[in-house]
Symmetry: C2
Subunit: 450 residues, 2 copies
């Protein structure tokens, strides 16, 4: 398990470029912009997330002495550079979309302005953090849409790509409306509601299914969700109902039953009927097992009666689109706008602002990308969050982000919300930015001809 500094979690070239800059005494102020060139075809919108971790990272940026020693051992760096590197902290400014905002390709999620060595050194982790959280939040948001108001919880931890992805899955899914997570560490860290039922192994270890149900109910008389499919789901349901009767007799209430395999449409309907007939109208039908937004939509369309979806691996790994094509591009250096002209990967020059206009129905009419200092119609979405390497305000946290997402999702056009073949928006570009871009392109080409 890694125990070094986060500064070391970087592509090696960030260090070699820093060394080359340092040797040339080149360290003027640069602005980098973080955005997606395109959305994955399966996504009609993105949810901005991860800013809290990103700002933590920037505030804590520093190499440890043994890391500088390791770099020295590579035999490629001058002592004066290593001494400089040991003292580097992040002293820059950050503008960002707030967590929970919905956004699209070409729209900056974050812009960093700092001496170029600092701004370059933080590239890898800034992309990594925002990509991880925004990828998972965008996926979880689709599960929320598919569930049409039903409760969702996160069961993904066992097959996320590492523990950090598990923490991000718990936080990001909560941010878009999930009601809880099975991830205990995330519950403690973020103050999320812990949820869980029981495993098949628990039932098997007793051998006798009803004995297992009774043992669990005895320990947690007010928090029992019984897993009924270890051997035969209908027989399991009957036993769960018997245990529910015993709980009721002692003044408690069965929370629900869980189905994890088989014909979930038929079984969920049968479970609902059996529970209702036993006077257990309040007991929830919980469904799990390879769920994602497609499967949830399909189950509901085919008439499944589900109160709570426990969503796992496919959400927690964003299985159909496991990354966003986020890039962190230099947009100005030493007061000069910069762009990359590589085929198909052009970036917009200069620090920017993003403006959103809503129509009469409070749906997004369009986003507009402008230079940061321009004044345009609509609401400006990017705001300063860090200056001189310090947060301007304490992080609002996932609860504020959750409120924001709940409001912003209502502004998305139906074409963005579709689960299949969604049509994301693209921002238009202000005339000022467009003409600056054209000037910068010509200038860049001309400069190469010298």
């Amino acid at each position: 398990m890694y125990s070094g500094s986060l500064a070391m979690v970087t592509d090696f070239y960030e260090i070699t470029m820093a060394a080359a800059y340092h040797a040339k005494a080149m360290n003027d102020v640069a602005t980098f912009s973080l955005f997606a060139h395109d959305l994955p075809p399966e996504r009609g919108f993105m949810v901005a997330a991860g800013l809290e971790d990103a700002l933590d990272y920037l505030e804590g940026f520093a190499f440890q002495p043994r890391e500088i020693q390791y770099l020295a051992s590579l035999g490629r760096f001058r002592p004066d550079f290593l001494e400089f590197l040991a003292g580097v902290r992040f002293s820059g400014e950050v503008w960002a979309l707030p967590e929970g905002a919905v956004c699209f390709a070409e729209e900056p999620l974050l812009e960093i302005t700092a001496p170029i060595i600092e701004a370059q050194l933080v590239e890898t982790m800034i992309i990594n953090i925002i990509n991880l959280h925004s990828t998972l939040a965008s996926k979880a948001a689709r599960c929320v849409l598919a569930a049409q108001g039903r409760t969702l919880v996160d069961f993904s931890l066992r097959r996320t790509q590492g523990l950090q992805a598990g923490m991000a899955a718990a936080r990001s899914s909560t941010l878009v409306g999930f009601a809880g997570t099975s991830n205990l560490a995330a519950c403690q860290l973020y103050g999320i509601n812990p949820v869980g039922t029981m495993a098949h192994s628990f039932v098997e270890s007793f051998g006798d299914e009803i004995a297992a149900f009774r043992a669990f109910a005895k320990s947690f008389p007010d928090h029992t969700v019984i897993l009924v499919d270890t051997y035969d789901s209908v027989a399991g349901l009957e036993r769960a109902i018997a245990v529910a009767g015993e709980l009721r007799a002692s003044g408690h209430r069965l929370v629900g039953i869980r189905l994890d395999s088989g014909d979930l449409v038929g079984l969920s309907r049968q479970a609902r009927d059996m529970l209702d007939q036993a006077g257990l109208e309040q007991a929830m039908v919980v469904v799990s097992g390879s769920l994602d937004e497609y499967r949830i939509a399909d189950l509901l369309e085919r008439g499944a009666r589900v109160d709570l979806f426990a969503v796992g691996t496919r959400m927690g790994s964003s299985a159909d689109a496991p990354y966003l094509d986020l890039a962190y591009k230099l947009v100005s250096y030493a007061g000069r706008p910069t762009i990359k002209l590589s085929a198909g990967k052009e970036s917009w020059a200069e620090a920017k602002q993003l403006w959103r206009s809503l129509d009469a129905n409070q749906r997004i009419q369009g986003d507009l990308l402008s230079l940061r200092q321009e004044q345009q119609a609509g609401t400006p979405l990017l705001a300063p969050v860090m200056r001189h390497g310090r947060r301007l305000e304490p992080e609002p946290g996932w609860k504020a982000a959750r409120q924001r997402f709940a409001q912003e999702v209502l502004t998305l056009p139906a074409s963005c919300l579709r689960l299949t073949d969604p049509l994301p928006l693209r921002p238009s570009v202000s005339p000022t930015l467009a003409s600056l871009q054209e000037r910068t392109r010509l200038e860049a080409l001309n400069r190469q001809k010298i």
Copy 2:
């Protein structure tokens, strides 16, 4: 960033089940088996990886006092259970496939035998760790196959699902034959070779492309790979060749050039020709940009001339198959074999051994799953690696695993090695295991009828 214990990184139900077991004083010895029900359709084999981290986790398993306090604050657990939990360490036995072994669905990657509470508490992280590493190693192995002997390096860190996934991508790709990684933290932790070139931003910050190339070459006269596609790849190549001439004049040598966009087939051929004509036969053509095994195979098939592939996001997130369907199933408890009968998810009872037979060409003829104590033909693949909660031997590390994989990959039938529509093997099952399974199934069903 999470700073608690790894014991807390668990599904909440592991704790509630432990509490229910504890309340019943049920803590006999259990064996759990970790295996994949099926491989993703895109995979013809798996590479076992992650054991080193898994054993670290087991040896270090312990809750911190503030975590026990947090659990107490939930108001669901009895003080005697919390006191017990505070003292839990992992005291069990582990049998496992060595890292770098190739394997298939239904084959145990790892089996844990311990008092059931311990064995259950470690479930979530054991699955998470082995899933992460084996998923990424299996993906990276396909890139190695596609590259047909050309050098590969890992550039994935910026878009892995978190830093831990980035560390695992670096280690797992090295394990299957990659020559280096851009991930500096992984280089320090694992002793991997750091690699890197330069970013487009570096070129843009100078404005003048050749000035950027010269500055880098001056700082790293023996380690320079020039990125040529920021503005125009062919013009960039000409400038790189000019700088290579300057390096040569001062007794140094350009390591290579990197192409990251555009028609990589045509550009790589042109680059090779231009470099050769300039007497730079030793300078490498490095290619990057949305590479994976499919793209590498396609580039080579269409005649690209590439010396080194820098593979990023799609490898580091295993984009086409971002998880393995690993399950951790109870196979015996208190001396009694156990199975789950859930539709489509049946598991094999009891602690097992896996035997491999090779044919006359040293290719796998077949794998056989038996009870652990059986003696069968072939080589036994599972070996004890931990007893009484302590490793039997120091971890052999990724270098030994790399050697193993290099040998084992040669034993895979062509049908497993195909990049598209591969046909993975399935183990056969010994008659003894098959009849035990049948008896256990009947017994489980009968027990439910009581």
